[in-house]
Symmetry: C2
Subunit: 85 residues, 2 copies
């Protein structure tokens, strides 16, 4: 039994996002003038073995320890699916 | 009226993902031994003004032209919400 989850990491709203701004500017120059704003972040798809503890709790620890810098980034965890092996 | 959407870009399944492998290895060394696999990708949150054409079609063009290198990456588009301004 395995669980697939996705952790998404974005710069906090009050933190400047130069990569997102650069993409929004480039899209404007390419003619995509409906684009108002872009935020650029990271996405991690994680496969876990079923275990004793809570998957959400483990993913929270993983995010705080390794995937996100919580001083400047927010993260969110989504469970995608469980699969019987 | 604005639309928020998320474009997620991952390396294609047949392409090596050294960043994901490095993260999976680091998590194992940190004691997260339930982690079987990690894929590392990018996430873009895009805000668009309501317009004449289809939002999904515009986001597909944006992804193919700027956000994803479709030779080595797959992308997916999700609509998050519409907001009346």
């Amino acid at each position: 039994m395995t669980v697939r989850a996705r952790v998404t990491v974005y710069p906090r709203p009050e933190i400047l996002d130069p990569q997102g701004k650069a993409i929004a500017g480039a899209l404007g120059r390419l003619g995509f003038d409906r684009v108002l704003d872009v935020r650029a972040g990271k996405s991690f798809e994680i496969e876990l073995a079923e275990g004793s503890g809570s998957v959400e709790e483990e993913l929270g620890q993983i995010s705080e320890k390794l995937l996100a810098n919580t001083l400047i980034e927010d993260y969110s965890v989504e469970l995608l699916e469980s699969e019987s092996a």
